[in-house]
Amino acid sequence: MTVSGTVTDETGEGLIGVNVFEESGLKGTTTDATGNFNLEVSANAIIVFSMIGFETLKFPAPPYGRLNVMMIEGVQLKEIVVTALGVERDAASLSYSVTKISAQPLTVSRENNIANGLSGQVAGVNVAGLATGPAGSSRIVIRGHHSISRDNQPLYVVDGLPIDNTNLGNANTNGGQDWGDGISSISPDDIESIQILKGANAAALYGSRAANGVILITSKKGAAGIFGVEINSNLTLEEPLVLHDWQRAYGQGWVAFKPASADDAYSSNWFHYGPKLDGEPTIQFDGIERPYEDAGDAFKQFYETGRTLTNSLALTGGAEKINFRFGFTNLENKAIIPNSGLDRRSLTLSLNAQPAKRLTASFNIRYINQEVKNRSQLAASPLNPNYSVGILPINTPYNALKGPNGDGSTTEGNEFSFVGNPYINNPFWIINHVRNKDDKNRFIGVGELKYDLNGWLYALLRVGRDQYTIRRTEITPIGTSFLPGGGMNEANIKNTETNTDAWIGSKHIFENGFGYDIMIGGSRRDAAFELLSISGQNFLIPDLNSITNLSNVTNNYGLWKRRSNAVFSTAQFSWKSLLYLNLTGRQEWFSTLPKDDNTLFYPSAGLSFVFSELDKMPNWLSFGKWRFSYAQVSGDVDPYSLALNYNLRASGHLGLPLGQVANTTVPDEALHPALASELETGFDLRFLNGRVGLDLSLYRQHTRKDLVVSAISNTSGFDARFVKDGEVKNLGIEVNLHLVPIKKENWLWETNLNFAKNDNEVINLGADATTIELARSSNDVPVAFIHNEVGQPASVIKGFEYKRDDAGNIIIGADGVPLQGDLVVLGNGVHDFTGGWSNTLHWKNFSFNFLLDFKTGAKVFSGSNAFATLTGRHKMTLPGREEGYISPGVTESGEPNEVLIDPLFLITYWSILPGRIAEPFVYDASYIKLRQASLTWRMPTNWLENIKLKDIEISLTGRNLLLLFSNIPNVDPESAFQNGNAQGLEMFSVPPVRTFGFNLRARI
């Protein structure tokens, strides 16, 4: 059939050059000078209208062949959204909350990890800030922790294929690196849009991994008959957002005296209990006398200006029965830590074809190559340069650490150690000699065949594979303080995930207004993670960093496999455009669970009532919908959790094998599938032609049979065990308010405010537990723990509080130091209130956009601040430096404390305090950030005609520009060093950066 019509802008002016094409990609055209178009399409086709600067619109082909479309910048009243398995549905028909984000802003104001770009954009989507460097992981949690210990991040789906988002290694409190996650490989340049399905409803089609919501990524596609070239170039500069604000009055020393010898300076290096800085020559760790003065902030000197340059090129085109889009993106990053950074190249090819009359085929292929150089060690790790720089004595010039060779080495070529602890390393040694790199090659391919049996019945087969290999090399050179012989690790990681889905579907709308859309099918998922590594110590030939040049070598191998099979069905019944009933069901089998208890059926049901379609609704109501849904979802555990196994430790001893129990979590042969449910209701209201919009959701999520991995006492022989009937609940509200306050000829101001409150409560941790530990800040002082505790939100920070009398006075011991109270909950590690406020202002060819992002309701135990207190670097340690310190409080008998801590022994006070009490180092983690701002100029059409280009846009852009509100000194409130469930800990990570940049985009 032929569809014709006119495309206009909001003022009714015809729009020239709008791409109009059938979504299956086979036919397309552009509008003429008056906005008219003519397009031959098949029946039931979806017609797409797209043009730069306007929201892309999709409409089903109208039965009578005429379609007039008004395209609005940023506003749309009716849209087709992609739901689970790539099935497209009218947004109005959905009975659960779905939010769509255009990917284009994510290419202008970029994050290396695209998931971080979602921060503040969508109500209820909590993006945790990680401070792990440019190639680090992300953490997104939608509607709170659904599980006590299993993964709480959403499933990422690219063009219908679930992709792997495994974190390849996190730092813990004893250090380590963030080896990145799966989503970070995806380049925003190839993405058309991102949709977020918040609830559990998508799980019927994607399986249990969708229990935490789904982030659907749709790639850009080509269109028939339109050959295009698109170029995007983006350059950003990066610098730390938050600097340390340590005390700068008192110098190095540990008992109120300056160091008396090089040895003394060396061993007391990080302590700042010396006298007031007086500029007098004083001996330092290297035996050189230097003025006892503020030698400048090493923090500022250590970090360089980071730089990221991203260039992308895309070609699109097609003929009648085939079209393509080919994209190439190159990203080069030089991080703020010298000699570290990330290079990423990605190729994508999208191909759509109609090889036979009733058969359509589409293929999306991505190849990504990523090389990361020198991921930073984090937290209380050896070789963490952030830690070394953070504690460098105030009177030691940063450059003094360069040593005789200028690169942090001694004349003998060993580490030029500046502190009497071999696990605290010279930052120059780290950046110039210690090496790690990882090279990742990833292939994501998905192919889809759809066969139309007739007008109302079709069959579809989709097969996709996500596969990557990583080669990782880590070198600790000869002469490193804690490993004088040096050491090396070589690892090869292979991860594969194969998904196969097939279904038959049928849809039809009868003349009486009743419609149905039903599908039934099956799916299989196979996933495997394989690790082969060799590590060793003691290089034999100096300066030969090869795994064959080590005297002590051990091997490691692991393969973790899992499969799940499922059959599923979904059905949507509609009556006119007024009422929709959605039903789904899935039976899923898990390979990781016991044979007699490895499957569960989980259903969902929902209703959408578009009451604005009723007669006699007032004119000012443009759209109104009430939705309600209920869904259940299951889940499983890691492979090999059922039986006790044995393996061999290291490489044996003197030729003898060393046997050990392989499990560190107590195996449990009686595990069963997890079960959770979610109830959601909401309104979607739009008024005054869409100039005012309100979307409101209320939900109640309840996980009843959670499989919890719970830390247990080491004295039991194991580290953790399964709790099978864990229970956790989320109750929340999400509000999105959309306004277009100004809409004039040359002016448009759009503003969007979203916020969400989530109340999370751990209800049950099994019959015999009321609290379980997820993580601890450190094995060293000071100590805080992350727990899940019955009656509390998931991931609370626990630590020892001050001991107080009934009146609340702090009780001071006979030694003058506050006494330890109970181990109590000191705060929630996860923000429960999140939101963002975005604004876009268009004036003629300029547009200005900014996003404020805010969170509250969480605390953080700051290891950096605690350690700075211990070492006398924190401003908190200033009182009493001259006259002695009396800790405010009362004695155990209730008298005011009068124990005067001699200035000589302040170190004792401040080292005992953090060993006893965690409370003073737990800070409010609320913040408001200017997350993003950009100013864009679009070249006027008449200029473009002269230079024969379709479009040119130039933007000035920035991210994380300002920390407008924060209650935590010295560190960024978003400084988590890992992306697991144990949030609420911070310790000398890579400082989060502020970026400024420039973006150029052109279409030929």
Binding site: V255, T500, R563, S591, L656, F785
Partner: protein
Amino acid sequence: MHSIHIKYILSFIIIFFIAACDKDFESINTNPASANDIPPEFLFTNALLSGALNSNQAGGATLSYAACFIQHLASTKFNWQGDKYYNDPFHGNALFNDAYRNEVKTLTELLRMLDEMPEKQNLQAMARIWRTVVFHRLTDFYGDLPYSEAGLAFAEKIYEPIYDTQQNIYEDMLQELEAACAALDGSKSTPAQADILYNGDVEKWRKFGYSMMLRLAMRLTKVDIDMAAIWSKKALTGGIMTDDNYSALVSRATGPADINKNGISHFLSIEDQGRICKTFVDWLQNHNDPRLDVYAWQKLGNDWLGLPNGIDDLHIIEFVGGNDLDSFTRINPLLLNLDAPSIIMSAAEPQLLAAEAALRGWSQEDPTVHYESAIRASMKMWGRFDGSLSIGDQAIDEYLINNPLPANSDNAIPFIQEQYWAATFLNELETYANWRRTGYPELIPVNFPGNATGGTIPRRLRYPQVEYSVNNANINAAIQRQGPDEMTTRVWWDQ
């Protein structure tokens, strides 16, 4: 025609998915890198090696605490917190944490497995003896501990083990030793070379078992003299180690992994900040003890110079030797090879305890004979570290002439304890326990500002803080019973 397509597609889906809903799942969920079963000897070797202690345990807990407490070693450095009676949970926790995760876990599974293997009764007896080695060190260092319920998370689903009283632990360990020694049978199979302690020699294990019994029995002289007497007599009747051939030393290696290395040597290869304490150097010098040259090393041309405890880098300047730590006497590097054996018990120890038992009238033997064989065993043992360190018979004879066992038992018992202190170098947990039991040698504590004990030598270490988080009720019950979780609280046998 369409119906044919539909049938085809439907049957495809049915065959592909539904019929195969959980086929092959068991093989998919089988770990290709681990086994359902393992020869028990493999576990035994691991238990012995782990029990010989790793760097954190042997270095962190043993050297930087115990060795400094009893003035074998000293350090000016902040990391060596035992030198100044500070409390540093990291080093202090190491013995506890690693012992339960490695040796206790492995031994628990091994003994569970051996219950079904009566033909391996020797291996079972050896494992039971070794279990007492592991646990007595722990309870001596920390006090009440998970014992009867330890390591049973898998076997009995015990996730929060109770803390047994030290008295109960000792009573059970002694009975275990008695039963295990009785079960050893030279006519039955042995673990042979999997036994990196005695190479499957049943006789040596029996003597080791009875020597352990004597060690535990003598521990009780302060708290329960009758029990000490009863069990000492049993041990002596059973037969203890007589000479250095019986000394319990676990072989180590230079690699490939850290676990292969001698924990003490490995620790000192990284944190070479300990020196031999002035108290110890002076004693060895005053006694003209040939072991000074074995234990200690001094820069050529320099006199012996022990480092006092309780001094930091600022104050060391006021001492002879000043701030150059190289001028102070170090541990002999020949004792610190990465493949140096780990000392579990030297034959000198039970011989000295036997001398004490005889002096207490618990045996009819001549205490002097025991004393002399103890000294011989002690002086010979170091030859196993390096041939050059074996002290010649002439020097030993001379030493025995110059340092005879005092005739008067009031003098002899303290004399024996000083010799015990001198003989147990690098077996510091044992030195520390025996010093707490007897109070000899008389040591003058240091009182560095801010120490955790008010200037007294600590009597135990604190429990790991994490136990308060994961085993709260049981650790609190232990503290209620035993006294505050401080380094000044005395364990049961030290009352």
